[in-house]
């Protein structure tokens, strides 16, 4: 892969020589990548290329998969996230995640957002919690739509609203990194545009890593793009370079629709 012009001065997360195994099967092969603090980084690649697996190793979601094993080094602010001393619950508060299918808790809108701050003890007073909930919903672009019905169930919202609720839930604990795994693939184009606008708004507040099958989406929202294929990182570069002048033949074939 090419690394030219790609110094990330202020990496939030660094991965070095990372391998991920599911039992005997190696899903990720020797991937090294830096994730910039003020950048949106997109992971693209065909199904089964390992991009989601790699994303999930950034906050140890793979720990929950039986037989999964991660080797190599992944650091958050220079701290090894796979070190025995690492508190995984704290880690996942610092590195939040949004999934493909909106998955609000079967609770009120308010409680969905308040859940994280409550269990992490971020809000001693009810007023503090109200403030956190309002701020998170505002940042997620949902406040105006739900402020008069905070006690309604989160599952009663539309798909796009549910996904923004999940983003509000993820950012309510003030994470440093937000991982998004195909956050728009279950949404219509308008809801998708709202999420993309939200990603744009959130850039700079959190480091954002997004996995997407939609290359136009990667081109629209990210500043850095990584192309994965068969478990390896083929090319990582500025998004504009990847989409106008990729260095690797495999990247070109994929983004121009010649893959397979």
């Amino acid at each position: 892969m090419t690394q030219e012009d790609l110094t990330i001065l202020d990496p939030k997360m660094t991965a070095h020589g990372v391998n991920v195994f599911y039992g005997e099967k190696q899903a990720i092969n020797n991937v090294s990548i830096d994730v910039g603090t003020d950048l949106v980084t997109a992971f693209i690649g065909p199904s089964g290329c390992g991009k989601s697996t790699f994303l999930r190793s950034l906050n140890r979601m793979n720990d929950t998969v039986a037989g999964a094993k991660v080797t190599g080094e992944i650091k958050l602010d220079g701290e090894d996230i796979y070190a025995p001393s690492m508190d995984v619950v704290q880690l996942r508060a610092r590195v939040g995640m949004v999934f493909q299918k909106p998955n609000p808790f079967p609770k009120s809108i308010y409680d969905n957002v308040a859940y994280g701050p409550r269990i992490h003890g971020l809000a001693p007073q009810k007023a503090d919690l109200d403030g956190i909930v309002e701020k998170a919903l505002t940042r997620a672009g949902l406040w105006d739509e739900v402020k008069d019905r905070l006690q309604e169930s989160g599952t009663a919202l539309s798909g796009g609203q549910q996904q923004r609720l999940c983003i509000a839930r993820a950012i309510a604990v003030d994470p440093e990194v937000v991982l998004m795994d195909e956050p728009c693939s279950a949404l219509d184009p308008i809801a998708t545009a709202k999420i993309e606008e939200l990603i744009h708004e959130l850039r700079g507040k959190f480091a954002i890593v997004i996995v997407t099958h939609n290359m136009q989406q990667a081109a629209r929202v990210s500043q850095r793009t990584a192309f994965f294929h068969l478990g390896t990182l083929v090319e990582y570069g500025k998004t504009t370079d990847i989409f106008t002048n990729p260095r690797q033949e495999r990247t070109k074939d994929y983004i121009t629709g010649r893959y397979g």
Partner: protein
């Protein structure tokens, strides 16, 4: 770089092939217009000159067709990487080829305005110059069709010969006018013809530079340019 027509969506390949075919046809017509205009000038053939003027409409129509197809392809297929570069280059190349057609038409229109040109010694020089220009146009479009960056670079290098011809013809005509004041009107027309040919050479160079961009994704290095033409205007757009 070979031309690869292997998109998963075959209809995309069909669009690309159609686009390439149209540009190729347009380039062929522009080249032909140039050769016919010069032949008409050389032989005082008014019918052929009139035909060049008429045929220019077909070049214009092809330009619109390419523009339409390009915009449509960008909108519907969202091309990326080299495909995207090809779309952008296609748009720019057809506008350049259209200009080349206009210059040929302009030469053809002058045929009717001159008589006794055959006695002017600059004519054979102009014929040789136009042959080089036609080759450059031909090779520039070939380099587009074949995705051949090296051929494109050679086109830009050979444009120097065209500039040399222009300087030489300029001197010849100025001398001729001083010695034969009664041919000043004809000579002035021939100066414009030379200027048109020189501009066409520059346009062939522009096409080659775009081809280089399509193939490599980078800009061609600022090439070694020869001396400026003596009227100092070779780099300026006409009209």
């Amino acid at each position: 770089m070979a031309i690869v027509n292997d998109h998963t969506v075959k209809a995309f390949d069909e669009d690309l092939n159609r686009l390439r075919g149209l540009i190729s046809e347009m380039g062929g017509r522009a080249e032909q217009a140039l050769l016919q205009a010069m032949s008409a000038l050389n032989n005082g053939d008014l019918d052929l000159a009139a035909q060049v003027v008429r045929d220019d409409k077909k070049i214009d129509a092809l330009e619109s067709e390419v523009e339409q197809l390009t915009v449509q392809t960008i909108a519907l297929r969202a091309p990326m990487a080299d495909d995207l570069r090809e779309m952008i280059a296609a748009l720019k190349i057809v506008s350049v080829v259209e200009r080349i057609g206009d210059y040929a038409k302009n030469i053809a229109k002058r045929v009717a305005l001159m008589d006794q040109t055959r006695s002017i010694e600059a004519i054979p020089l102009l014929m040789s110059m136009s042959n080089i220009v036609a080759e450059l146009i031909h090779d520039a479009l070939d380099s587009f069709a074949a995705r051949d960056a090296e051929l494109a670079v050679r086109v830009t290098v050979r444009d120097k010969n065209v500039d040399d011809f222009y300087n030489s013809i300029f001197r010849t005509l100025v001398t001729f006018m001083m010695e034969n004041p009664k041919y000043i009107s004809e000579s002035a027309h021939l100066l414009f013809v030379a200027k048109n040919l020189e501009r066409m050479g520059d346009h062939a160079t522009n096409i080659a530079e775009m081809v280089y961009y399509v193939v490599t994704g980078g800009q061609m290095e600022e090439r070694e340019r020869g001396e400026q033409p003596e009227d100092g205007a070779a780099e300026q757009e006409q009209g």
